[in-house]
């Protein structure tokens, strides 16, 4: 390498150093400028506020108990848990609904395929925020108050305060039943492995799925009956202003979950359809020629190939859904953004608050990416470039 700009390698190095230097300088300038301004205006900074008492209440909590006397840190943790709850359920439901709609769009049945087309075209073309307002208004404006709640099922109450559901009163026997269920799942998995090996060795088939189902359902059932069938429900009852007892699904959560699921499912449907269409016609015909029926053709021939096309864009949709959950602010669901915004406003520490929000979403998104990339490598063609 010559120390001259005529030398391509040296030139490249110089440009890279200059570019890097410019970025670092800009960054340093922004940071120092911010610090100077914060000091000049006597605005408090630092993360010390996280240990202070938050002083505000949060409408719904997941797993983490919280009251107004707890710290900002705990309040943010509650917000994070709420974000996880809606994102996790949203991803699962959107995948299920999206797959059904996507396959329905390929259906030879005229009505079914047109309905699926209508679903996709309408829902993916209306902004998500509008859909969220729509669902929230549907619930809070159309349902009656708690004192005139609808009763679609015994013990279930539908009102503009949400859906009140009965919950199981937990007893010690329930832990044993759960243990039996886990044991059943493990056994079912062993049976599946054994059946696959035996089929590979001898060619003889075994109904591993049905045997597994029988064990994983049967085992807990036996324990349940053996323990004297402990089954007591705590039914919600109207007390004062609202329902107490049981569990409540709030309108904010329901509207957010419905909006995210239904909107994202429209995109998932198109991804699934594209994936199935990407499998060549000849693959179906070859499977037919081997005598596989429709279900087996789907499971053994089409889906494994379709998944290779489906998984990467599906990852993007999962990421979108998670990030879109921050629209919760608009309808009052206390997610991480909502809580962090409140913390910013009560403490005035906007930079720290925004940094926390960014760090949280970056961490969640990178985790989803990592998981989906791992899954993608599993389903991708061996040796193919990811």
């Amino acid at each position: 390498m010559q120390l001259s700009l005529r030398d391509a390698r040296f030139r490249a190095l110089v440009f890279q150093v200059v570019a890097l230097g410019a970025v670092l300088t800009a960054l340093a300038y922004l940071v120092s400028n911010t610090v100077t301004n914060l000091e000049a205006r006597k605005i408090a900074s630092g993360f010390g506020f996280l240990a202070r008492e938050a002083g505000f209440a949060i409408g719904e909590t997941t797993f983490i108990a919280y009251n107004a006397a707890d710290t900002y840190l705990r309040a943010l943790a509650v917000g994070l848990a709420n974000t996880f709850r809606v994102a996790l359920l949203g991803v699962v439901l959107a995948t299920i609904v999206g797959t059904i709609v996507g396959l329905a769009r390929l259906s030879p049945n005229w009505l079914v395929s047109r309905l699926a087309t209508l679903y996709v075209e309408v829902l993916r073309n209306v902004p998500l925020l509008v859909q969220l307002f729509f669902w929230y208004a549907m619930i809070s404006e159309n349902l009656p108050g708690p004192r005139a709640a609808l009763k679609p099922l015994p013990g279930v109450f539908l009102s503009n305060r949400g859906i009140a559901l009965p919950t199981l009163v937990t007893e010690s026997a329930h832990a044993w039943i759960f243990g039996a269920f886990v044991l059943g799942l493990l056994l079912a998995w062993r049976i599946a492995v054994w059946a696959r090996r035996r089929q590979a060795r001898t060619g003889r088939q075994f109904h591993a799925f049905w045997a597994g189902l029988a064990i994983s359902v049967g085992l807990p059932l036996v324990v349940f009956v053996g323990a004297g069938a402990p089954f007591k429900l705590q039914v919600p009852a109207l007390a004062g202003f609202n329902f107490s007892g049981g569990a409540t699904l709030t309108p904010e959560f329901a509207a957010l979950l419905a909006g995210l699921t239904i909107y994202t499912a429209a995109f998932v449907a198109e991804i699934v359809r594209a994936g199935v269409l990407a499998v060549q016609r000849g693959q179906f015909e070859a499977a037919n020629a081997l005598g596989l029926h429709r279900g087996l053709t789907m499971r053994l021939v089409v889906l494994p190939q379709a998944l290779r096309v489906i998984v990467p864009p599906l990852t993007s949709q999962y990421l979108n859904l998670t990030k879109n959950s921050s629209l919760a602010v608009a309808i009052g669901y206390p997610d991480i953004v909502s809580i962090a915004n409140t913390a910013i406003n009560q403490t005035g520490q906007a930079i720290e608050g925004i940094a926390i929000i960014m760090a949280v979403y970056l961490t969640i998104s990178l985790s989803i990416s990592a998981f989906m990339n791992w899954y993608n490598r599993r389903v991708a063609l061996k040796g193919a470039r990811a």
Binding site: A28, F56, G59, A68, N160, A330, T342, N345, Q346
Partner: protein, 339 residues
């Protein structure tokens, strides 16, 4: 080799340029004068305080303060641009310099005055937090609200007082926290919450302007906090702080002196030395503030005194003067001497 040196020199010069660019602390008054208008942060729509009318013109007590500042600085109350802000956006907008004044029913508290880097330029409305419930709930006192669902806006002192009040009285509640005023009041009137809480002025205004039938709603007698609402400016610019502070005082003082937009031209010839100073014929109060001698005359002539603004904006909604009357009439409105 020379070229390398050039590149390095260029790079370091670039670095120096960036590094030696401190945030230019231009005075707010100069900035306002050079752009030709006052940028004022107001509520997104609170009847009586700041709300656009059917022609899209902003009206209200908080809006009048912005117009008064424009009248004092430019001699033209119309030279204001408005930035509607939610409770959560307001302080960041002021801190970042997006607006020059925050006049948005904002409560004066110690922490806001210090750690947020703000200065409160007096009190334009003495308020307190209250609760509103539908009459059909048959609730007569806030002490009966145990277990209620409460609609509240986030990032407000209201949100904190609410939690404090229920904790102090050993009661529980479920908050429904929505940022936009319109959405949160919609949720309340749709029955999503049993209670809506904010400053009593906000309750009266919301009931009068947004309730499907105002007679169906009751404001409970308990007032659980002190909420002195006032205009806010940034820390560190005393000149601008003085202008906003004395604009508000001029409106209050004018009412006490009996000067109004209707009579100030006639009264300007009065021999009373206080009035002579006020309209700028005598003394140099304007110069001390860095403004025109006719600054306070313009405020009263174009916007009116405090009482006029109150009567124009709040009285039609059913507000009483109460503690917001002049100190001479048993209220708290008191301007230091203008001399």
């Amino acid at each position: 080799m020379r070229k390398v040196a050039t590149v390095v020199a260029l790079g370091s010069a670039l670095a120096l340029t960036f590094a030696t660019l401190p945030a230019q602390a231009q005075s707010t008054l100069d900035a306002v004068k050079s752009k030709g208008f006052v940028q004022c942060g107001v509520n997104t729509g609170l009847a009586g305080f700041s709300q656009p009318d059917s022609k899209g013109e902003w009206k209200g007590l908080d809006v009048d303060l912005c117009r008064a500042v424009a009248a004092a600085v430019f001699g033209d109350a119309a030279k204001v641009r408005y930035t509607p802000l939610t409770a959560q956006q307001r302080f960041t907008a002021l801190q970042s310099g997006e607006i020059d004044i925050l006049s948005r029913n904002t409560t004066w508290t110690l922490s806001r005055d210090t750690s947020l880097g703000l200065n409160f330029a007096g009190v334009i409305y003495y308020d307190g937090q209250g609760f509103m419930v539908p009459k059909k709930l048959n609730v007569k006192s806030a002490k009966q609200l145990n277990g209620a669902t409460v609609c509240v806006q986030p990032g407000t002192t209201t949100e904190l007082n609410l939690a404090d009040y229920f904790r102090a009285n050993n009661m529980t509640f479920k908050p429904v926290v929505i940022e936009k005023l319109e959405e949160v009041t919609n949720a309340f009137f749709a029955g999503r919450c049993d209670v809506y809480t904010t400053d009593v002025s906000g309750l009266v205004s919301t009931r009068g302007s947004r309730a499907p039938n105002p007679a169906d709603y009751l404001i409970l007698p308990e007032v659980i906090s002190k909420e002195p609402l006032g205009p806010v400016v940034r820390h560190g610019d005393d000149k601008w702080f003085d202008i906003v502070k004395w604009t508000l005082f001029a409106m209050i003082e004018a009412e006490e002196m009996g000067l109004s937009s209707a009579n100030i031209d006639k009264m300007a010839g009065d021999k009373n030395p206080g009035i002579q100073r006020f309209v700028g014929t005598n003394g140099d109060l304007g110069k001390m503030l860095g403004l025109d001698a006719k600054w306070s005359y313009n405020i009263v002539k174009q916007v009116g005194n405090y009482g006029e603004s109150f009567d124009r904006n709040l009285k039609p909604l059913g507000f009483e003067r109460g503690i917001n009357a002049q100190w001479t009439k048993g209220g708290l409105m008191y301007a230091p001497p203008m001399r």
